[in-house]
């Protein structure tokens, strides 16, 4: 393959959309952290996020030299690595916001559950590629469920409800693509609903229950857990059509909006850039997700197809839950907005996911005339 051909096989649309989102991210993080940081550290967050973006671009380019298919060879090893990593978090992790999610590695605190998402996509894709069209009975499905269930429970135990739900979303997206019997899928949902009371009583922690109750009615606890939702809705709503302008969002600049550069960054976009800015951002996500599905459709093999579906499911689920949360139609679950929220673990994961998509597209046979 000549380099010229390689260039033609670059998904410019996807890169442009992701680039656009990351640009908006850097601007918004800059605005959100501008006032609330001591002046000597004022650009720390933007700088850090920018540096990791550049480093990750290097990783993406480096990864392009390999064929994504080599990943399926690592399926089993990655799965075991993943379990060990999650166990390590459980025993070595640092507690933050009531959950053990962090591992300190030198100057960088890593969030293994972020990496765990992409690892699980690779593992699932390598296992599920042989099951296409064969998921008709419960007995077909159970082994796969068990395969995902172990890491799922480990993440849930951290507790990181958000990431475990992401696992579920990836799992459902993949088995759906594998052609799972629709009735079987429905049955699974019904089972989940039936198990809900058990999960409520035995699995969910108090603060998670509160989050769900608050989601149903934020005014249950307006100054506690409901506070985030209320302030976030106020921030978005008060942005109106054109927003209050960068650095001028009263909700985010005056600290009424907590976590404004991480989980609630979409509210800053809504407040400062208005409906116009928020819609542009959502349309950029639409482009990314549509490209993800397109790449899945054009993938040269089932492994590639499932990888692309898993990645797209993951990203779509993040966007839905995060934006839904800031807009008050989803419970607060601590799921970051891909490419937007400050956080190097998530950024690295998401950029690697895009690298895989680009890799699949690059090695797509069908479009080679």
């Amino acid at each position: 393959m000549s380099s010229n051909k390689k260039l033609r096989k670059i998904d410019v649309e996807l890169i442009a959309a992701v680039g656009g989102i990351i640009l908006m991210s850097l601007i918004t993080i800059g605005s959100a952290t501008h006032i609330n940081t001591p002046s000597e550290d004022r650009y720390w967050f933007v700088l850090r996020q920018g540096i990791f973006t550049v480093l990750n671009i290097g990783v993406v380019l480096f990864f392009m030299n390999f064929d994504y298919r080599m990943l399926q060879g690592y399926g089993k090893k990655l799965y075991i690595f993943n379990i060990i990593m999650l166990l390590a978090v459980m025993f070595l992790g640092q507690t933050a916001l009531g959950a053990q999610r962090w591992i300190q590695l030198g100057p960088i605190s890593l969030q293994p559950s972020e990496f765990s998402k992409i690892i699980m996509i690779i593992c699932m894709a390598s296992v599920f590629q042989d099951k296409i069209g064969q998921l008709n009975k419960l007995s077909d499905l159970l082994p796969l469920a068990g395969y995902v269930g172990l890491p799922f429970l480990l993440v849930l135990k951290q507790p990181d409800l958000g990431t475990s739900l992401v696992f579920m979303a990836i799992f459902i997206g993949m088995i759906f693509a594998c052609g799972v019997n629709i009735k079987l899928l429905m049955g699974m949902f019904a089972g989940a609903v039936a198990c809900a009371p058990l999960i409520w009583h035995f699995v969910l922690k108090e603060y998670q229950k509160m989050r769900i109750m608050v989601f149903i009615d934020p005014n249950v606890d307006p100054l506690g857990s409901g506070y985030h939702i209320i302030q976030s809705k106020i921030a978005i709503g008060s942005g109106m059509l054109f927003g209050k302008g960068l650095f001028a969002g009263t909700q985010s600049q005056l600290n009424f909006l907590p976590e404004n550069h991480t989980d609630f960054i979409f509210a800053v976009v809504g407040e400062e850039l208005g409906f116009v800015g928020a819609t542009i951002l959502l349309l950029l996500y639409l482009v990314v997700l549509r490209r993800g599905i397109k790449i899945a459709q054009q993938a040269q093999d089932n492994f590639g197809m499932l990888l692309a579906v898993g990645i797209t499911s993951m990203l779509a689920f993040h966007v839905l839950v995060n934006v839904g949360m800031t807009a008050g139609i989803m419970p607060v679950t601590g799921i970051p907005l891909p490419f937007m929220s400050y956080g190097v673990s998530a950024l690295t994961t998401n950029m690697f996911a895009v690298a895989i998509l680009l890799n699949i597209y690059l090695r797509n046979q069908k479009l080679q005339f």
Binding site: I132, G133, G173, F176, A177, C178, G179, L223, Y227, Q231, K233, I234, A235, I236, G237, S238, G239, M240, L241, T250, Q251, L254, N255, F256, G270, E271, G274, F275, A278, T279, L282, L283, Y285, L286, L289, R290, I293, A296, Q297, N302, M305, V309, T312, S313, A316, V319, L320, V323, G324, A327, G328, I329
Partner: protein, 643 residues
Amino acid sequence: MNTNNIEYNGRLQVISYIIVLVIAVLIGRIGYLQLYDGEYYASLADGNRIRIVPAVAPRGTFYDRNGTMMVTNRPGFAVSLLPLTAPISDEVINRLADLLKVPKGDIEEKIKAHVGFDPIRIKTDVGPELLSIIAEQKDLYPGVVVEVLPIRDYIYKEQAVHVFGYVSEINDAELEDKKNSPHKYKMGDIVGKAGLERVYDLELRGEDGGEQVEVDVTGKPVEILGRKNPIPGSDLYLTIDKDIQAAAERAVDEQLVAVGARAAAAVVMNPQTGEVLAMVSRPSFDPNLFVGGISSKNWNAINDNPNHPMDNKAITGEYPPGSTFKIVTGTAALAEHVVSPEEQIFDSGKHWIVDKGNADGEALGYINFEEAMAHSDNVYFYEMGNRLGIDRLEKYARMFGLGKPTGVDLLFEAEGLVASREYKEKVFDEDWYLAETFDAAIGQGFNNVTPIQAAMVMGEIAADGKRFKPYLVDRIVDYEGKTVKKFKPELVGQLDVEPQHIRLVQQGLKGVTKYGTAASVFRGFPVEIAGKTGTAENPHGRDHGWFVAYGPFDNPNIVVAVIVEQGGYGSTSAVPIGRKILEAAFNIPDPAKQAELERQRQLAQQAQKNKENNSNNRAQEQPAVVNNAPAPGREYGAANGRR
């Protein structure tokens, strides 16, 4: 791969649709929040960040008739809490309760009751020590702000407190009462609770201003967005004369001690205009105690006093007029021609029809109208009552304006009571007896007057039958110096009596201070005074002593009414007060005080001379100075010309 391929391609298409749907739902949701509900959330965002820090308008100042400041404001500090988006922590409330010595429950109640975004006032008029603690330990008191407030300052404390009234924080009942007022009263407002402070609250209060301040989530001010300067309240220029008021209060206080009484009232007016020059009620209280919220100890001291310090007895106290009512009876007798001024009536010590006599059983023999008035002869006036009958007595009492409020610009003025058949029938369901007419004729029995009514009656005689409505405020002047309201004398009545008859009454009243019941006290008084003493029987204890007077006799511009509750004879309890008030009104120097002033002046001059001599070494000139003192007469003459 082919069949599977087609199969999963369909599925992928479904996922693609789902993604479009998800994004569409999200765009729809934020569109709803931002476009449909945007205004609402924008107002919530402003509510989050914008706080109003009010600037309280200074209340109007009270000036006396000569422009002397009597009530003003001084700068004070209040400690307040800014309502935050997050709840105020228990720790801060505890700390604040300890520091300000305010019960924690009170603070919590105030926070709970508060709506809006202006500061919650926890304690007003806080001393500088506490302020510096709050300023130094800012981090321990998040959301706590110090407001600068004008604090009401009654410069002369108790002086004229019953006229001025007092101010304090508005209560729920008042808030409800004032719902329809043109001014929008709100919780925490300082309002006039009594006296002129209450009557003219709207004019006095001005309009509060404030600053719109942008705050962050901890309530820390970030930027001032806008400012509205407060409009100070209008000033009251009173008819009160500070010197006469002070003299009247001093005279009353000294006399209360002298006669061992506890309550008294005095009113000084100009009979030609109705201007009230002084108004005293005892016991009294210090209105400054109420300004920052009164302590329960002070409140109990006021509230438990059996003589009701808060009452303005000059307008709310109703007493039998006693012999001061003989002014009414005498005027009626002359006007109705039931007696001629020359007719002599024999006083044998008691009346021949009803067995009633003079107080001490003395008998004055044959006396005419003027002598009877001067000596306050009961037998003579019983006979006048006998000849007039109760109905005509009632008619003249009402003609003088008794039985209804005088209309002075204060609240809760009492009406008094005029003895009448109708009243007795209504209240006791009984016919009228002649003996009751006798009682009524000398101001006992059912008759009741307030001190201001007593002054009004005397004032009508002084002003040749004209009755002016008493008033306390000459003009209201706004902060720009513009007179917004000017009060003029208001003629509200005229005695339907021939002038010569009024003159006869005047002559009789002059006799009171010349040779009658007040003569001993007024001996040597340089201004001609008409007066009338009274001793009102009091079923609950000692008699009340009355004195009413006016002067100068030929051109009266001062009328005085004094009552000493349970002071005994009017001539010994009330008359000395009356004299001292008249002395002050006519600027007649008190001999004892004059001597003291003279001595001090000489000492001062001596000291001055000594100093000069010491520096100049001319000690021999010293004795020449002693005779250089100013003549006392000069000062008196000059002062007398003032009125």
